[in-house]
Amino acid sequence: MIQLTEYETVKTWMKSAGFDREDERLGALEEYCRLVGQTPDEIIATCLKQVGDGQFKLKLKTRTKYANLIDEFQQGPSGQRRGNYVRSFLIHNGVMLTSSILR
């Protein structure tokens, strides 16, 4: 089985957000991946459609699906923080999320 930190999207996330492989963020992402049954690279690939050389279009319905799954994922204690780790993973890979503060 491939280590989480070997996925390209996880490398991108770690570099862009500036954290190392000991960080608790990775555990949250791993758990989320289990929930949706996909690898990190698959999640990002599903959200972005290539429209040109190095250019991507955000697939809004797919983004909404993952955002709703994050809402489900973060139920429970410390949930908001864990949910935000997953949001951070998506955001740093170019999947802009319409996050909210007042829910």
Binding site: Q80, N84, Y85, I101
Partner: protein, 274 residues
């Protein structure tokens, strides 16, 4: 939420025009619990109302909407794919629209300006010129041209918006121009059909330092401005640059050394992703 009562601007430290221009930023983090006073919105509107405008016509229409007057579902439906938590934080939205039919008042307004001495025969103006030439050959064709009339209405409305943003800054408020879902706004705000959407201006007290990390970088002046023709770049001078720094029109460019820590702290305080 209860807003503070009216306070004469003269009783506060006033901010001059140079500093208001120099320190205006697009603010993206607001104090969600601190309402914007109605009188401050009134001052923004009055400033907008005095902006330069062709034929002295009202090209802008704006409606101030308290965030909490909209239910959560409506606010979510206002968000475009690039809107995010800033809409939840800002306590006030100003929806701005351009009115392409505004020049229809042109002849009446122009004759009024003539009567008030803004125009005069010395510059070739007369009531007859306004009726026979300006209206017939400029205003009426303009009103029939959807693209041109929308273009001029947007340009003139944008001048009013610029006034609003600067007065907001002078009053200690933060603003940010955002796109919005037109259909949702039309549904809840009773927007007249002929108005064209421009920006939704978020208004509120900044949760970030008002400098928002520093002045945004701009290309050298001579890249965009010229003297006499477009082959002669307009060069900035040390003397003027120093004076504009003194009056705070020119300020240190972003990012301030602490900016990333500030963004992180705000994200944590509001439970937002980092």
């Amino acid at each position: 939420m209860e807003a503070a009562e009216f306070e004469p601007v003269g009783s506060q430290r006033s901010m001059d025009l140079f500093e208001a221009i120099g320190s205006r930023r697009s603010i993206r983090y607001f104090l969600p619990y601190r309402p914007v006073e109605r009188w401050k919105v009134e001052m923004m509107f009055q400033a907008a109302h005095l902006s330069s405008r062709a034929v002295n016509a009202s090209f802008i229409k704006a409606v101030a909407v308290e965030r909490d007057s909209l239910d959560l579902e409506t606010r979510e439906r206002l968000k475009t794919p690039t809107n995010t938590a800033d809409l939840d934080m800002a306590p006030m939205y100003i929806f701005t629209y351009a009115d392409p039919t505004a020049p229809s008042v042109g002849p009446r307004r122009l004759k009024d300006l003539y009567d008030r001495g803004a125009f005069a025969p010395a510059l070739g103006w007369s009531h007859k010129y306004i009726d026979d030439v300006i209206d017939a050959t400029i205003l009426q064709p303009l009103l029939k041209d959807e693209v041109e009339s929308r273009w001029i209405a947007s340009v003139e409305a944008a001048q009013a918006i610029a006034h609003m943003l600067l007065v907001a800054r002078a009053l200690g408020l933060g603003t940010c121009c955002k796109s919005f879902v037109d259909e949702t706004a039309r549904e809840v705000l009773n927007v007249p059909d002929h108005l064209k959407p421009i920006w939704m201006i978020l208004v509120g007290y900044p949760a970030e330092h008002p400098s928002a990390g520093g002045q945004r970088p701009r290309p050298p002046l001579d890249q965009d401005y010229f003297w006499n023709d477009f082959e002669t770049p307009f060069k900035a001078t040390d003397e003027v640059t120093r004076e504009l720094q003194r009056v705070r029109l020119l300020q240190p460019v972003a990012p301030y050394p602490w900016r990333q820590d500030e963004i992180r702290a705000i994200a944590r305080a509001y439970g937002l992703p980092e």
